[in-house]
Symmetry: C2
C-alpha cells in the first residue's frame, strides 16, 4: 500500500523502488503504467487515499444519530486510531499536501480536490441537519482544519490530547449551529409549527 508510505513519511522521502517493493509489483512495469513517473503515481495515490478516507468519513458520520454525535465519534475514533497505530495513522495526504503546496502544482491540485471532497461530504450532512448551507460549509471547513491541525500536534507530541480537544470544540460549534429543536409537544400553539 503506497498510501501508507506517503502517510508515514511523505512524498519526497518515499522512493519509487520503495513503492514497487511495497506493492509487490514488477519494477519495469512502473513506467509503462505511469508514464508520468513519480508525479503521476503521487497524484494517483492522493486521489485513491482521498476517496478511501471519504468512505470512512461518511461511514462514521452516518453511523451516529446526529451530526454532533457524528463529529464526536469521528474525532474520538481518530484519537484512538492514532494511539493504536503508534501515531502513524492520521491523515493520508496532509504530509504530502504541505510538501507540494508551493512546489508542485499538479499534486497541489490533487490534494485540494481531496480536501474539497471531504468538506463537501461533511457540509452536506450539516446542511441535512438543518444548518444553513453557507454556514454548513464554513463549519465543515473548520472541522477539517481542526482535525488536520490536531493531527499535526498529536503526532508531534505523541499524545491524543490535541485531537480530543479539537473534537470537543468542533462538537460544541456544530451543536450551536443546529436550528433550535422543536419541542415535541408545544405548549403554545404557534402558527408556524405544523406537520
Amino acid at each position: 500500500m503506497t498510501s501508507g508510505l506517503f502517510r508515514r513519511q511523505g512524498y519526497h522521502a518515499t522512493g519509487i523502488k520503495q513503492i514497487v517493493e511495497a506493492a509487490n509489483a514488477p519494477f519495469g512495469s512502473i513506467y509503462h503504467f505511469f508514464p508520468g513517473g513519480k508525479e503521476e503515481i503521487g497524484a494517483q495515490v492522493i486521489r485513491s487515499s482521498g476517496t478511501l478516507y471519504l468512505r470512512l468519513i461518511e461511514a462514521i458520520l452516518d453511523s451516529q444519530p446526529n451530526v454532533v454525535a457524528g463529529a464526536r465519534a469521528f474525532f474520538e475514533g481518530a484519537a484512538a486510531q492514532l494511539v493504536a497505530t503508534d501515531y502513524v495513522d492520521a491523515c493520508p495526504i496532509a504530509t504530502v499536501a504541505l510538501e507540494v503546496a508551493s512546489t508542485n502544482d499538479t499534486l497541489r491540485q490533487a490534494t485540494d480536490e481531496v480536501f474539497e471532497l471531504w468538506i463537501g461530504a461533511t457540509s452536506d450532512r450539516f446542511a441535512a441537519a438543518g444548518i444553513d448551507v453557507a454556514r454548513a460549509r464554513e463549519l465543515a471547513v473548520f472541522a477539517l482544519a481542526a482535525l488536520e491541525g490536531a493531527f499535526v500536534i498529536s503526532r508531534a507530541a505523541r499524545d491524543p490530547e490535541a485531537v480530543l480537544a479539537a473534537g470537543r470544540e468542533v462538537a460544541v460549534a456544530v451543536q450551536a449551529a443546529l436550528p433550535a429543536r422543536r419541542p415535541r409537544r408545544p405548549r403554545h400553539p404557534s402558527p408556524t409549527t405544523r406537520e
Copy 2:
C-alpha cells in the same frame, strides 16, 4: 534563511548544498559547526524558527485589548500574510513536523518542544484573562490545531477561507470561555438578561 526552505518545501526536499548556498556560507564549514550533519541543522532550524514565531504570537496577542481580539487579529493577519506571500508563509515547522513525526525522533522532539512553547504562551494569556488554567490550555491546544490545519487547507486550496473560518470559530470559543463580564451599570436588577 534556511527556515524559509523548510517552510516552503520541507525537510527531505531541502538539500545541504541548497542550505549553504542560501546562507552564503562556506560549504566546508558546515560539518565543523554541525557535526551532526543535516539532522543537527534541522533541529537548530526548527528551534530558532520556533522562538521567532513565538515572538510573533506574543506580539500580536499583546497588541490587542483582549484575548478574543488577539485571536481574531492573529488569524486575520495569518490569512493576509498567506495571500501576500502566495501561500508560502504559513507555519515554519508544520511540514517538517509531519515529515519527521514517525521517522526521526530527534527532530520530532524538536517540533514537539516548539509546539509546546506556542501553546504555553497562548495558554498563559488565556489564563491571565480569567480562564481556568486547565481550560486555558485546552483552548490554546485547540487554537493552535485550528490554525495549523487551516494552513494546510488554505495552502492546498490557495484560498484564505479556511484560516478565516478557523479564526472565527476560535474567537467564539475563547469568548465563550471568558468569565461573565460584570455589567458597568446594570439596567435591570434581575439576574437574567432581557431585552
